[in-house]
């Protein structure tokens, strides 16, 4: 199920992959309730919540109205309270507790964590001694202009951080000209801080709560380029799992630390992938990510550890390549041609009927898009945009083809890159859309039929059921 919650003009409405924005209440009367935080504009952070099956959500409530337009992070404790850290309009890091009571959340007053220089990409966690931690990236504008990963601790539930807001905290990295990204977790009496530094390495440091000392800096991986496309999780048996995308290698990796040694690097995906999220379920790592098949569109995928590798499949049945794509030329000797493989790839100009040399041409020519599940969006990339023609969009309602206007508006194959929302989301798909057979293939079919011939014939490059998704934020259990 994919449901549209809101729209936003913020740079990154759902944050950055190492951060946390979606939570599940762990117990009590409201167990299972989801709470989502997101940037609804360039300055506002809002909260909404929903109960299973999440078909309806609460009205958004404003939590912060003076945020900088940059990613924030939060944490849900075992009572359902949410702890939010964000960069405000002065580029200071602020902490805010959002108290959960009687099924609703109420925001408290913001407390300054750090006001030195400019600060970004905060991350919050609570350690085994119930100290609050804020990890963040400090841009040393008053000094060497480098970006440092820093940590500050509050021993009084967020009232005071370190020795106060002008205390810059502990520097964990040695500084880089490029912005860093940071995440963290606790395992027993240790706090692990994992960060991407200098766009070329993923590193970590460990704080021992018993001895109150930081371990030295270690490298997890080095490569071009490692930015914020990484995430970490802790298994039930105390292992640290790390997944990270290296865009210079077009690969997604996984490594695991058992407390004494690291596993080897395991390839999860071997094409460009972004925004990985990891969680352990029954001590098995599950990784969710956005695979990029080309043209900036993405297909959500899930990878589940199996043996020494991962089994990878589509995350949602409504998103992915089409199971069948037919081009139909009404005047051709062979009317239907199967272009399923060609439509799935980004190869330029290979989706056309061989007799018309066009994706669509004269009246009654059709493009059929079929999937075993209902779908709500279609990404269409053309090598040649059409001109002069018109089409109608139709689905099969069990008796006949039913014409409809896509939710994103009419599209007549007259622009070369178009994301067509057939319906607003998967919850809005026409309820009478039925499976039928086209060219002896059963599927949920969308038929795009020419009603006025094209003067310039469109030629296709890539046609998939996908959107331009990014910044996945996987649900985290309150703890």
């Amino acid at each position: 199920m994919q449901k549209l919650l809101d729209t936003s003009g913020a740079a990154r409405p759902t944050g950055s992959p190492p951060q946390r924005e979606l939570f599940r209440v762990p117990g009590g009367v409201f167990k299972g309730r989801l709470a989502a935080l997101y940037m609804s504009s360039t300055s506002a952070i809002k909260l909404i919540y929903s109960d299973y099956p999440h078909e309806s959500w609460s009205s958004p409530q404003i939590i912060v109205s003076n945020s900088n337009d940059s990613p924030f992070s939060a944490y849900m404790d075992g009572s359902g309270n949410i702890h939010l850290v964000y960069t405000d309009s002065s580029k200071d890091i602020k902490y805010l507790e959002i108290t959960f009571a009687s099924g609703a959340w109420t925001a408290g007053s913001a407390v300054a964590v750090v006001t030195v220089d400019d600060n970004y990409n905060p991350f919050f966690l609570i350690d085994a001694d119930e100290n609050f931690w804020c990890l963040f990236v400090n841009h040393n504008t008053s000094g060497d202009s480098k970006y440092y990963v820093r940590a500050k601790i509050s021993e009084d539930k967020g009232t005071t951080w370190g020795t106060g807001p002008t205390d810059p905290g502990t520097a964990l990295s040695s500084g880089s000209a490029d912005i860093a990204y940071v995440s963290g977790c606790r395992i027993g009496s240790r706090v692990y801080v994992v960060y991407a530094d200098g766009r070329s390495s993923l590193k970590y440091r460990v704080y021992d709560l018993l001895n109150e000392i930081w371990d030295t800096e270690y490298s997890i991986y080095s490569g071009n380029y490692i930015d914020d496309d990484f995430d970490i999780a802790v298994s039930g048996d105390g292992k640290l799992g790390v997944t990270f995308a290296v865009s210079g290698e077009n690969k997604l990796y996984f490594k695991e630390y058992d407390g004494s040694s690291w596993s080897g690097v395991i390839e999860v995906e071997t094409v460009l992938s972004r925004s990985p999220q990891i969680a352990y379920f029954e001590n098995i790592p599950h990784i969710f990510f956005a695979r990029h098949p080309g043209n900036n569109y993405c297909i959500l995928r899930k990878a589940i550890k199996s043996g020494s590798g991962f089994t990878v499949s589509d995350y949602a049945p409504s998103i992915g390549i089409f199971d069948k794509v037919f081009v139909y030329d009404d005047s051709a000797s062979t009317e239907y041609q199967d272009k399923t493989d060609e439509a799935s790839s980004e190869t330029s100009g290979d989706v056309f009927h061989s007799e018309s040399s066009a994706l669509l041409d004269g009246i009654e020519d059709c493009l059929y898009l079929g999937k075993q599940s209902r779908f709500y969006c279609v990404a269409i990339v053309l090598s040649t945009a059409g001109a002069g023609g018109t089409v109608v969009w139709e689905y099969f309602d069990g008796e006949d083809w039913k014409r409809f206007t896509p939710d994103s508006g009419a599209y007549h194959f007259d622009s070369s890159d178009k994301l067509v929302y057939l319906w607003e989301d998967s919850e809005s798909i026409a309820s009478d859309w039925q499976v039928t057979k086209v060219n002896n293939q059963s599927a949920y079919w969308i038929r795009i039929r020419v009603t006025a011939g094209f003067s310039t014939k469109p030629i296709g490059s890539q046609i998939i059921a996908a959107a331009k998704g990014d910044d996945l934020a996987l649900v985290r259990e309150g703890a």
């Binding site: 809101d6 729209t7 299972g32 997101y38 599950h286 899930k302 995350y315 998704g469 990014d470």
Partner: protein, 123 residues
């Protein structure tokens, strides 16, 4: 409001016989939010999927009652009673939606469960 129609539509019940429960409760609710870039303001989208091949989501519209009639797509405020038809144990997972619900058998049992579903529109 039509009292007659309201009366006829309220408190409807359906009995679905011999429903096979194969899903188990060993599934992971992989919920997430994400950003979809479009021209203009970006879309914030919630995704709800279960991982694993064992999740069993039942849609009302896919069920047929003991008289041979399809159930409606939407049932307002539904309640469900499971009537065991074999020794296996089954249960509803989470809340019941107006279009669907999740059902599971005990993860420790090897065979599927068979139940009758008594579905009621509570209104």
């Amino acid at each position: 409001m039509s009292t007659t129609i309201d009366y006829l539509k309220s408190n409807r019940k359906w009995l679905v016989r011999d429903y096979v429960v194969w899903g188990d409760n060993g599934t992971f609710g992989a919920d997430m939010i994400m950003t979809e870039s479009v021209s203009g303001d970006d879309r914030i989208v919630f995704s709800h999927e279960f991982t694993g091949e064992t999740a069993q989501t039942v849609f009302f519209q896919d069920l047929v009652d003991h008289r041979g009639n399809n159930l409606p797509e939407n049932i307002k405020n539904p309640g469900i009673v499971l009537i065991p038809r074999n020794p296996g144990s089954s249960f509803i997972l989470g809340s019941i939606g107006e279009r669907s619900f999740r059902i599971a058998r005990n993860s420790n049992q090897l065979s599927n469960s068979v139940v009758d579903l008594l579905i009621m529109e509570m209104n």
